[in-house]
C-alpha cells in the first residue's frame, strides 16, 4: 500500500486538546462500568453458588438433622454414613455404567443428526427445528408423557398397543425390574430430549470447517464419505466433541428429573446419585449433614472425571489440534 503526501496543501491545524475534565457515568469510568454490569451477576454467583457450596461443606461435618444451622461437630461421620450405610455408593456405580453408555450414544446420535441436517439441500430449517424442539420440553413433562402415555403398562399404553398388534402381551416397563425394560424408557427419553441440543453444537462446528480443506483433500485424491469424515471432519470437531462429552458426562451424573418422575423413590434400582442425596437431605430423613457429605463426594467425583477426560481428550487444546 503506497503512502501519499500532500505538499503545499495547508494541513488543518490539529484540534486543540480540550481541557481534561472528569467524566461521569456509563461512558467515563471503565471500572465503574465493569462493576455495574458484572456486579449483580457476581453477587448472585456468590449468594446462590459459592455460599451454598461453602455451607454444604460446613454442614457435612455436623450433625445436621432437621436443621441447616447445626452446632454438633461430628467430623467425618456423615461421610462414613453416606458411604457405608446408604444406597449412595450403589447409585454412583450404576451411574458410572449409565454414563459409559449414554455419553457415547448421545455423542454419536447428535453428530449423526448434525451431519444429516448439514448436508440437507431442502427443508433444512424445518428438520433442524424438528430435531432441536425436544430440547425445549421440560424433563418432567417428557417423563410423565413417557411414563403415563407411551410406556404405560396397561393395554392402552402406546407401546403396548403397538406390540399388541403383533400378539405381544402387555409389558410392565417400570414396575418390574426384570428384565430391565426401564432402561429403554429412560434412555429413549434422554436421547430424544438431549440430542437436538448437542446437534446444534456440532452443526455450528461443522459450519466452521473451511471448505478449502475438503477441496484440497479432493485434489489430493481423498474419497468423499468415510475417508473425508475420518481424516478431516472428525479431527476438526475435536474441540466441540470434547466439550460435548464433558457436558454429557456431567449431565449423566446430575440426572434427576426423569428418573425421579419415571422410576420414583421406592425402587432400589436406577436411583441416581442426586436422588439418593435428595432422599437423604430433603425427602424422608432431613439429614442435611449426610446429604451434604454426599454432595461433596459427588462434586469431587465429577471434577475428577472431568480432569481425567480433559487429560485424555485435551480439553482446551482444540485450537492447537487444528
Amino acid at each position: 500500500m503506497s503512502t501519499t503526501t500532500t505538499r503545499g496543501v495547508a494541513q488543518p491545524a490539529p484540534a486543540k486538546a480540550s481541557p481534561a475534565r472528569p467524566r461521569r457515568g456509563l461512558r467515563g469510568n471503565p471500572t465503574f462500568n465493569f462493576w455495574l454490569f458484572t456486579g449483580p451477576f457476581l453477587i448472585g454467583l456468590v449468594i446462590f453458588v459459592f455460599v451454598p457450596i461453602g455451607w454444604s461443606i460446613w454442614l457435612s461435618f455436623f450433625d445436621a438433622r432437621y436443621t441447616v444451622t447445626p452446632s454438633h461437630f461430628i467430623g467425618f461421620d456423615n461421610y462414613k454414613q453416606i458411604l457405608t450405610n446408604s444406597n449412595f455408593p450403589d447409585s454412583l456405580l450404576t451411574f458410572s455404567v449409565f454414563a459409559a453408555f449414554i455419553v457415547p450414544t448421545t455423542w454419536a446420535l447428535s453428530l449423526g443428526l448434525a451431519l444429516l441436517v448439514h448436508r440437507l439441500r431442502f427443508m433444512r430449517a424445518f428438520f433442524r427445528s424438528v430435531f432441536f424442539l425436544p430440547t425445549a420440553v421440560s424433563y418432567v413433562a417428557a417423563a410423565l408423557i413417557w411414563k403415563m402415555s407411551i410406556f404405560s403398562g396397561v393395554r392402552f399404553g402406546l407401546m403396548n398397543t403397538v406390540l399388541g398388534w403383533f400378539g405381544v402381551e402387555n409389558i410392565a416397563y417400570l414396575a418390574n425390574p426384570s428384565p430391565p425394560w426401564y432402561w429403554v424408557v429412560i434412555v429413549s427419553l434422554r436421547l430424544w430430549i438431549q440430542s437436538g441440543f448437542y446437534m446444534i453444537l456440532f452443526l455450528a462446528a461443522l459450519q466452521n470447517i473451511p471448505g478449502e480443506l475438503y477441496e484440497a483433500a479432493a485434489i489430493d485424491g481423498a474419497k468423499p464419505g468415510w475417508q473425508t469424515f475420518r481424516y478431516i471432519t472428525l479431527p476438526q470437531l475435536r474441540a466441540t466433541s470434547t466439550a460435548v462429552i464433558l457436558l454429557l458426562l456431567i449431565a449423566a451424573y446430575q440426572a434427576f428429573d426423569e428418573f425421579f418422575n419415571i422410576i420414583g423413590q421406592n425402587a432400589t434400582w436406577a436411583q441416581t446419585p442426586l436422588m439418593e442425596l435428595y432422599k437423604t437431605a430433603l425427602g424422608t430423613s432431613q439429614d442435611y449433614g449426610a446429604g451434604s457429605a454426599g454432595a461433596v463426594i459427588l462434586s469431587l467425583l465429577i471434577c475428577l472425571v472431568t480432569l481425567i477426560q480433559g487429560k485424555f481428550m485435551g480439553f482446551g487444546r482444540g485450537e492447537e489440534a487444528k
Partner: protein, 420 residues
Amino acid sequence: MSALSNSNWNRRNVLQAAMGLAAAGGLAACGGNTGRSSGGSGDALTQYFHAYGEAGTEQAIKKYAAAYKKADVSTNWITGNNFESALFAALLTKKAPDVFEFHPQLQLVKSGQVADLTDLIDPVKDDFNPNDIKSHTVDGKIYGIRMIDDPQFFYYRKSMFEKAKVEVPTTLDELIEAAAKLTTGKVKGVFLGNDFTAIQNVIIWSAGADTINANNEIAYHTDGVAEGLKQLRQLFTSGNVLLDAPTDFWDPSSLNQGLCAMQWGGMWSMPAMQQALGDDLGIFPFPKIGSAGKQSVYNGGWSIFVNAKGKNVEAAKEYVKWLWIDQKQYQEDWATSYGFHIPPRTSIANSATKLKTGLPAEGVKLFTDYGHFDNIAYDQTMQTAFAEVIASSVRKNGNPEAALDTCDKKVNVELKKLFG
C-alpha cells in the same frame, strides 16, 4: 426507525419506571391466597396442605380459612408428589408455614418443629379416638390434632367374583388363587399399587408382627413377614397383578375402568367408586399371612400441626383449635362431603349419617375390627428402608432375609438417633 425508539427515555425515566414496576410487583405480591374476597384482620397465618384428589377439597379448606375472622389465613395447596419435601424445606426458612398437615412423626417432636397442643386437646380428649390420641402423644404431651382417619382395604367387583366363582379371600394364598382366577385377557386379578409400598405396613400386621414394639425395637423381622414377602414375589411374577397403571392405588380409576377385579385403596375413594360401579362393589381387609397372621387394615390419615418455630405460634394454635376442635360442622364436612373419611371425633363419627349404612358402614366396621394406627416412632426413614425391602425382595427377586437384614441396619441407626 421504529416509533418506540423515538421516545425520550433518559436514565431518570428508566429509574422511575423501574421503581414503579417494583412497587407494582410488591403490591401484586400482597395478593395472597387468603380465600377471602377482601381484606381481613389480625395476624397473617399460612397453612400447607397436600393436594387431595377429591373434587372440592381445595375450595373447602379455603372456605374454612375464610370463615376465620381473627386472622388472615392463606393456604398453600401443594400439588405433585413432593409435599413432604416442600414442607420440610419450607420449615427451615423464614417463610415456614404456621400450620401444616402431616403424619405424626417423632423426629418432628424431637427436633422441636411441632408445638405442644395438649392444652387444646385435653378438654375434648375423651371425644377423640383413643388410638389417634396415642399416635400423637410423646411423653404425655399431644403434638397434633387428627383431622381424618383413612382406613385402607381391598375393593372388589362383586360381579367378577361371581362370574369366576371366587370367594372373598381371607388368606394370602387365597388372594393369589383368586387373582389367578379373576385374570382375563383385559382384566388383571389385583392391583396393589404400582410399587407395592401402599401395602408395606399391612404385610407386617397381617403376618402377626408389628413395625416396632413397645420398647422401640424392631418387630417386623419375623419368619411370618419373610414368608409373606416370598408369597408376594410369587404373586408379583404370576402375571395376575396390574402393574404400571396410569394412576396409583390412591386413585379409583384402575377398578372403575375395569383394569382389575380387586384394588387396594383408601376409604376416600369410596364415593367415586360407588358412583362408577353402583352396588357392584365390595370391600375386605388384607388377608392374613401364615398360620400366626391375622387380617389387617391400615388406618392412615392426616393430622394438623403447628410450627413451633413459627412467628405466630399462639395465633396458629388458636386457629387450629377453632377449626379442628370447635367447628364440628366443618370437620364433618371435611370427612364426608368429598371422599369418605372417618372423623376422629367420636361424637362426629356417630352423627355422620353418610357413614351409617351400606358400604361406608362396612368400611367403618373394618376400621374398628382390623385397624392399625400409625406408630409415631416408626418414622419416614424407617418406612423408606422397608420400602426398599419390598423393592428388593418382591419386585427384584432378592432374598427376603437379606433384604430385611439390610433394613434392620438402617432402622437401628435411626432408632439409635431417636432413642440413643
